[in-house]
Structure formats: C-alpha cells, structure tokens
C-alpha cells in the first residue's frame, strides 16, 4: 500500500486534459460515413387536431427522407414512467413544439428551409397554460382530472392543532420555470443495421433510459440496442429524459434511410422544445405556539408538469418530501399534485422539486418570524430537527446532527449580526438599500423512497491484462466530476495510485447499469458500489495468494497481470442492496425517504439600487454538511456553480410564456448572470460522515440549488421591508412593489 490518501485530495480530472486541449469528442465532432442530417417539424400551436400536411413548393422533396408516426416499428411512445408521450404526434398535438414529423438530408444547410416549407393545417382545441387554469378543469387535457400525480403525507393530528395555536401564519409562494442552459446543445447520432441492431451516440446523462426507450420504439431486444455517451458539455438534468426523444428521432430516420443520421439542436430549438424546471405554487398554513414553536401545518404544493407525465411524479415526490425542510413538524399534512398544461413537458433540473418547496418554506419561516416577533435566526433555531426526532415522513434523524451549531457557524463566518445592524443604520441614507438573509435546508441524496431498491444498480471493476484497473459504470461525466471521483474511490480502496485507475466510456454494450446519473446519487450510491467491487478484486487476489496483506502498487499490478494471464477476464461486480433499516411505504408515503441528507445554511447579502431597482448579491456564504468531501476542488466547484445557478433562478432567469411557448428562447433575452453579476461564493464544509456513502460521502450536486433563492429574497425583504413571494424577482417587480407601497423618496414619478 502506498499509504497516501487519494480520497479527499484534489487530483486532476480524468478528462480534463482532453477538454482543455480540444481533443475531447462531443457528438457533433463525430462524423460517420454516409451520414445524413436530421431535423424536426414541430407543432406551431398548443393543442390541436392535426389536419392536412402539405410539402410546399421550392424544395426538392425527393431528396429528403421523411418520417411520420406511421414509420415507427414499435410503440409510438418515449418509454419512461407513464408512457403517454408520443415520439411523433399522431393526429393530435398537446403542446407547442411537439414533434410531428422528421426530415433528413445529406446537406444540413437545406434542412431549415425544408422544415419551414412543411405546412400543417390545425383544427385547434382550447388549451390550458397555468396551474390555475388546469385546476378549473374547464378543459380536460389529461386523464379525467388534469392531475398527473398526487401525494398525501400525514403525520399526527393536523385538524386538532388550530384551536391550540397562538398564531396561525399563511402564505403563498410561486417559482418560475428555468432553463438548464448547458453549454453544449442536445445532439444524437443513430446508426441501424438489421443484423447488429441500433446504435446511438449522444450527449446524455442516462444511457439506460435511452436504451429502454429505443427498445420499445424500435421493437428491438436489449442486445440489439447500444447507447454510447459522448463527451457531454453540461446537463443539469436537462439531458436526463429528453435525449431519449432525440435518440428516438435519429433512430427512426436511420431505420428509414439505412444510413447514419445526426440530429443537433441549435440553441433556439433547444430552448424552445426541451424541458425546463417545473413552475410551482406552494401554500402554507402554519400553527405556532406563543414562543414560536411549530405546532403543525398544512402545505399545499402544486407543480406545472406541462403536457405529458414524463418525470413529474418523481419531481413532485422530491418536492413533497422536502416541503417540511430542516424543521420538526409534530403534525403536518402535505397535499401535493402535478397538473397538466399545454406547455412542453417540464422536466429534470438540478434540485428536482426541492428548490421549489424549499423556497416556499424558507420564505414562510421569515414571515412566521415577523408574526411571532422573533428574528429569522431564532425562529429557525427553535424549530430545527434534532437527533431522534422524525421528519414529515417519519424518518428518524439518526446522525449526530446539530443544526443550531451549523447556523451559528454560518452567522459567524458571514458576520451576520454586525452586518444586519450596520445595514439598518446605513439604509436611512443614500441611494441603495442593503439587506442580509438566511436559508437553512436539507437535500436528500439518492433516489427517493424505494427508488434505489428498484434500480438495483450494478457496478463492475476490472483488473486489466496490463495490471491497471478499469471502473465499469453507466454513470456519466457531464462536467461534475463523475469519472474523477469514481476512479479516486477505486484507487483508494485498492491502495493504488490514481493514475492506475481508468473508467470505461459509458457504452451500454460494455458497462453494467449503475443507474441514471441524477439525484445526487453518483458519489454516494454508485461510489459505494465501486468501493465494494474494488474490494472484490483485492480479496480475489489475496485469496488466490497473489497478493499479501501489504503490497506495493507494482506488486498489485503484477498480481493482477498473473491473475488475467491464468484465468482470463478478471472482473468483480457489486449490486445495490438496501440497508436493513431503510424502509419506505409507497402507499402512505412514509418511512426512510433518503439514505442520507446533506444539511446547509446559506447567508446572502443583497443590495437594491434605488435608482434602477436592480438587486445585486454582494456576498454569499455557503456552509454545508456533506458527509465527507472526496475532492475539495470539485466539491467547491459544485457548490459555487449551484449557487450561481440559484442566483440566476432568483434574480435573472425568467421564461416568458405566450400560449405555452417560450418567447425569449435565446441567450440575449433569457438572462443568465455573468461573472460580472456574481459575488465570490464563500464555500465551507462540515464533515459528519455517512455510513451509506463511499468513504462517508453524501450527495452534494443538487444541494446548492435549494438555498440561494430564499436566502436572497429574505435579504431583499430585509433591505426594503417589503415581502416578495415569487421568483424570479426582477427589477420591474421590485419597482412595482415599491410603487404599491408608495415610498415617496424611492420611486420616480410614473404617469
């Protein structure tokens, strides 16, 4: 053994050199012989019967391959959860930009004009665009009641608490859609051969989701579908489910023309057609005692799922479980539903429902503090979950959690109390107002409830003929560091230098299904399996006498070479097994929701410019307990990047909808913050460890998306003494609110 630790050290990224030297191969870098280019003809209207389709003049249509729903060999669905989303609309469309037919040509420049030359007659039906419209059921656009999924969580006796309450505090909170804005747009290449079957290469998070979708669509067996992940330039959940759609389109064109077909979305198409974060509305009604303790409450949570089910039930699940946050609720009732509207389906996005319900809760806690007459700090301290207490789903906190200490440390690091005093004084003068706000929260790592048990992920570790180690997983790298950290874990387990461990390309023919790369599960769940599988390699070599109790890296490599020479392929597998004490009841929505939670306190300092009503975040302190940090640079990068994305969600990024279509689907009009808009994010970790994760790790990828919005909006309220309960919060909103309050010095005259 080398004795030097690899876990906990910021080793170089496995794919970093290729990325910075331009050698990394993204899907649009790949060209196959005879390849055509594909494009998608999409619905121009929200909800309609499809009438006559005309191929207009001026286009050499005989040169184009055309695919419609009738060309689908298997089922016309994108197989996922409910299987209600067609691959190509057949007779009816349910949202703008819904794919109707596909074109392919060898000259990619001819495609946009051809797409524009297809004219479709529509016999339009009434459409629904908001949660409120969907709830009225003036039209039934999905199922019998427009509801994709609902959950009920009940703990204790909520109905009995209202008469015991000293205070009852109500609030309604809303969040908007958000675009993932990965740098690399979506893209896929498909190639079909009657003998070998279907192969697709693409930018994606979940190879086996695509694999499953193509089997159903093309009516192929598992061994006849191969999915290969190319280098992927960012994802953020935006490449969780939608790549199955693009792969399906490329596959249909490839089957029809007998040649490989590449489909690459440009930014306009990517923003208009692919998924965004679910808009939400949350209502809180909370009963409190005189001293500010939560007696219980009702939480009503609704998310807008768009036109098809896709992942909405799972997003809603996470939103529901996080709705009670990091607090102890003796009695609670959470009613949650995902409703249908005639917008493109909303989908996975970092945080996956939690940012929505935690924005509501952490704004509501500040509202409660005001009503009860306590500070935002004190109201949280009096209600924090403690070891031995149970969450809203009756999961017992078993770790030595001390949220009061975490909060105190965050306040100290941010100089909260001094700043709060100083701002209050300085705000009486000058042309800007400053405020400081906090958010305390948690994020569950891994799949919800019985999800990990159902996934039953498998990981392989291979001892290679040259003595090096290869990790075999379908978990994907898309900038967050999957390759690096999983190799660190294997190297640490085997006592080898990091350079001796490589990771296989995520190719469904070559790697086992280690599950989707989502839900902050990779380091914690898959990492633990890599550890187990690597241990299997070591035990085999020791068991066969090739390796002693203590060994050098060279001795290990030699043993590995001998093993392969003698017995051929040398692989060790590990399959997920749910810990005995992790139990979940899907019907009652009760039990161990997650194997582990990460905990955090974020402090935001904001300035409102009273001349322009712009809000800027001046300082951001992110303190989190994440088990064990396996790679400090990557972990800090995840937190800082998540906070930046959270600042965008809060103050900049507004999807402007008109009849279910995004109106500002280009980067000049959909405003994401630049480095000139962001503060230095000060990142601090606490490390309590975690028995369920590799070397004590918990998931951290999504956590930083949850806290910025409430912390910043709480800071804005502190600055202006005006409450804001809806994000994104733009300067125009601040202006209108101040105007409504008629603060004479601050608002310019308006006609």
């Amino acid at each position: 053994m080398t004795g030097d630790h690899i876990v906990g050290v910021s080793v170089p990224r496995k794919e970093g050199r290729d990325k910075v030297t331009g050698r990394a191969q993204y899907v649009d870098d790949l060209t196959l012989p005879g390849m055509l280019f594909g494009a998608t003809v999409r619905s121009q209207v929200p909800r309609s019967k499809i009438g006559k389709i005309t191929f207009g003049p001026g286009i050499a249509w005989d040169e184009f391959i055309v695919v419609t729903a009738r060309d689908i060999p298997g089922k016309n669905v994108i197989a996922l959860i409910a299987n209600d989303q067609p691959c190509l609309a057949d007779g009816v469309v349910n949202h703008p930009e819904e794919p109707i037919l596909l074109l392919a040509h060898s000259d990619r420049h001819l495609l946009p004009q051809a797409v524009a030359a297809v004219s479709i007659e529509y016999d339009q039906l009434p459409a629904l665009f908001t949660v409120e419209q969907s709830e009225t059921r003036s039209e039934v656009i999905w199922g019998s009641d427009n509801i994709f999924k609902s959950y009920l969580v009940e703990k204790g006796d909520v109905d009995g608490i209202w008469k015991k309450a000293d205070y009852i505090v109500e609030g309604e909170y809303k969040t908007g859609a958000q675009e993932q804005l990965y740098i690399e747009n979506n893209g896929m290449i498909a190639s079909f051969d009657a003998q070998q079957g279907m192969t697709v290469w693409g930018s994606l998070q979940c190879p086996f989701y695509v694999h499953k979708a193509l089997m159903a669509l093309c009516n192929l067996t598992a061994d006849k579908v191969r999915v290969v992940q190319m280098e992927t330039g960012g994802a953020f959940g935006g490449k969780e489910e939608y790549p199955s759609m693009i792969a399906a389109h490329a596959a249909l064109l490839a089957i029809k023309c007998g040649r490989p077909v590449k489909i690459i979305y440009d930014r306009l198409e990517d923003m208009a057609a692919t998924t965004k974060r679910h808009p939400s509305r949350t209502r809180h009604r909370t009963a409190l005692s005189k001293d500010g303790r939560i007696l219980g409450g009702e939480i009503e949570l609704t998310i807008d799922g768009g036109a098809y089910v896709t992942l909405s039930p799972v997003v809603l699940s996470r939103a529901t479980i996080h709705a009670g946050g990091a607090y102890y609720w003796p009695n609670v009732r959470i009613t949650a539903k995902a409703v249908a509207t005639n917008a493109p389906p909303h989908g996975a996005f970092r945080g996956f429902g939690a940012p929505q319900s935690l924005f509501a809760l952490e704004r509501h806690m500040d509202r409660i503090a005001q009503v009860v007459g306590l500070s935002p700090v004190e109201i949280r301290k009096r209600n924090f979950l403690q070891p031995g207490q149970m969450t809203t789903t009756e999961q017992t906190v078993r770790e030595p959690l001390d949220l009061v200490r975490l909060l105190d440390r965050a306040l100290e690091l941010s100089d909260y109390h001094a700043k709060k005093q100083r701002f209050a004084k300085e705000n009486e003068l000058g042309t800007s107002r400053k405020g400081i706000g906090i958010a305390a929260f948690l994020h569950g790592a891994g799949f919800t409830g019985s999800g990990e048990r159902n996934l039953s992920s498998v990981v392989g570790v291979e001892g290679c003929a040259d003595g090096t180690i290869k990790v075999l997983v379908s978990s994907t790298e898309f900038g967050q560091g999957t390759k690096t950290v999983l190799c660190q874990i294997a190297a640490e387990t085997l006592g080898l230098p990091y350079e001796n461990v490589e990771i296989a390309q995520a190719d469904t023919d070559q790697v086992p299904n280690s599950g989707p790369t989502v839900a902050s599960r990779t380091v914690m769940v898959v990492g633990k399996l890599v550890q187990s599988a690597a241990l299997g390699i070591k035990q085999t070599l020791m068991g066969s006498g090739l390796l002693g109790d203590s060994y050098s890296a060279e001795q290990f490599r030699s043993a590995c070479r001998t093993q392969v020479a003698a017995h051929g392929q040398f692989r060790s597998w590990a399959r997920y097994e749910a810990p005995a004490d992790v139990f979940w009841d899907d019907d009652k929505y009760r039990g161990e929701a997650y194997a582990a939670f990460a905990w955090a306190v974020y402090v935001a300092e904001a300035t409102v410019d009273m001349t322009t009503y712009n809000v800027s975040v001046d300082d951001f302190l992110a303190l989190q307990e994440v088990g064990k940090v396996l790679h400090p640079v990557l972990a800090r990068g995840q937190i800082a990047g998540g906070v930046a994305q959270g600042i965008g969600y809060t103050l900049y990024e507004k999807v402007i909808w008109q009849n279910g279509r995004m109106q500002n689907g280009q980067m000049t009009n959909y405003i994401m913050p630049t480095s000139a808009d962001l503060p230095v994010v000060r990142v601090f970790f606490e490390e309590m460890g975690n028995v369920h994760g590799a070397f004590g790790a918990k998931g951290i990828g999504e956590l930083p998306m949850d806290g910025p919005a409430p912390a910043i909006v709480n800071a804005v309220e502190d600055a202006l003494k005006v409450p804001f309960d809806s994000i994104p919060l733009l300067p125009e909103d601040v202006f209108e609110a101040l105007l409504a309050k008629r603060e004479p010095q601050s608002v310019g005259g308006v006609r």
Binding site: L268, T611, T612, Y613, I671, G749, R751
Partner: protein, 288 residues
Amino acid sequence: MRSNPADYQLVAPASLQAVVSLLAAEPGAWLPIAGGTDVMVQYAAGKLPARKLVSIWNLPELRRIEVSPEEIRIGAGCTYTDLREHEVVQSEFSLLARAAAWTGGIANQNRGTLGGNIVNASPAADSLPALLVYDAELILISVRGERRVPYKDFHTGYKKTKLASDELVRAVCLARRFSGYLAYTRKVGARNAQAISKVCIAALGRRASGVVEDVRIALGSVAPVPLRLAETERLVTGKPVEPSLLVSAKRVAIAEIQPIDDIRSTARYRAAVAGNLVAEFLEKIGEN
C-alpha cells in the same frame, strides 16, 4: 445556422471607392457588412433578408481615428475596442469610451463598429446617446461625393435613417469642446455585462455661479430613436439644483419619452428609471 450559405453572395472589394461604386451600380441591392455583430445574428436565425453582402471590414479608409485641434474624426469602421483604447476618446469623450466598453462582450467589441451601430439604428444602441450629446456629425460617402450631416437629424424613426441606398457612413466627427463638462452615463440592462439596454443615459453638464449653466441629456431605449431631452434641458438651465428641481425635471423627462412594453422590460419601469437617472445626473451636477 438556420441560413443556407449557398443562398448568399459575399464580395470583399479592396477599397472604399470600389465599395461605393458597387453600391451605386445596384442601389439597395448590397448590404454592407463590417464586423457582422448584427448581420450574423440575423443570418444564424435564418432571418437575413439581404442576399448580397459587401464586406467593408478593415478597409483602411474606414479604420482611422484622426485628431485635429478642433475635432476628432473617427472612421466608421473603427471597433469598440479601437474606441476604448484611444487616448483622446478616453480623455475627452469618456461617454463614448464607456459606451464602447459595455457594448456586448470582448469578441463583439473586437468586431462591432461605430458605423454599424449607427446604421443598424437600434433605439437601444449603446453609443448613440453619447453621439447626441457630443453634437456628432456624420460624413456620408457615395460615388456622388461626401456630405456632412448632423447626427441628431440622421435617425428618422424606428430603425430608419437618412442614409441613401448608395451611401455609406464614412466617419463620425466630434468637436473637441466638451472637456470642461461633468460627464455622466449609465446603462441599465438586465445584467452587468452582455446585456441590451432597458434604459441608457449619456449626459454632460456644467455648473457656474450656483446654477446649471449648460446641460445635454440623451437617453436610449425609451423611444423609437435615441432621444435628446430638449424640454428637460431647457427646464433646468439657469436654475440651482434643488430637490424641487429634481422632481420637476423627472416629470418633464418622463413626459418627453415614449417607452414601450417589450420582451426586456415595461414602459412603466423604463419611465421611472429614466426619471431617476435624470435626477441622479442633476444631483451630481449639484455636488460638482
């Protein structure tokens, strides 16, 4: 790219004379393209109606900045980077240097030109309010010769100009008589960089004997064309800067503009912020 390159013709004559000859031969047929920061956006979106493009990028006749004792003459092909880096622009025409510094990103600044900003004629163009307050004059060139026109009359409506179909903007002339003024400019965009203005202001002012002696205020993004606030200027000239003057200046300024609701902001917000910016500028004169 949603346009087919085969549908487009691009020529790159070697001299300014050759360009204006081409424009004269087929008036209105050729679209001049310099840095391409506006044209290529339309091309990428499949929305560029012009099919014949004549490149004027880097023509030496258009890329010079000439300084005489009376004026500075900036070639229309000078980039924002050229403006940012020029010593006289920095020291005597800081409003223009600042506008150049917050137009687009570095890549845009290396390609985008002052002439392009003028003929593209967007009401949100960053450099135009500065040209208004500096009383800029434009030199237009065609085979018929050169003519010199005040910039303030050049923009006739939303994206409309007095440029004839065979003409190019050759240069922008600024008289060197504004170094004694307080310069104030702000761009209010949706973010601190790479944003299109919701409202922008460029203003010059001078105070003497306790009163506003001379003032020049121009706003962008609040009307179909960049606007000089003549009424507001008249109102404040000769008066001391007092709270009551700020209130009435705001009111008059808001009455002078015609902001709209669009994808970037609202008319109400633009009006209020425009008023606030005018007041902030006057306060600064008061402090000066």
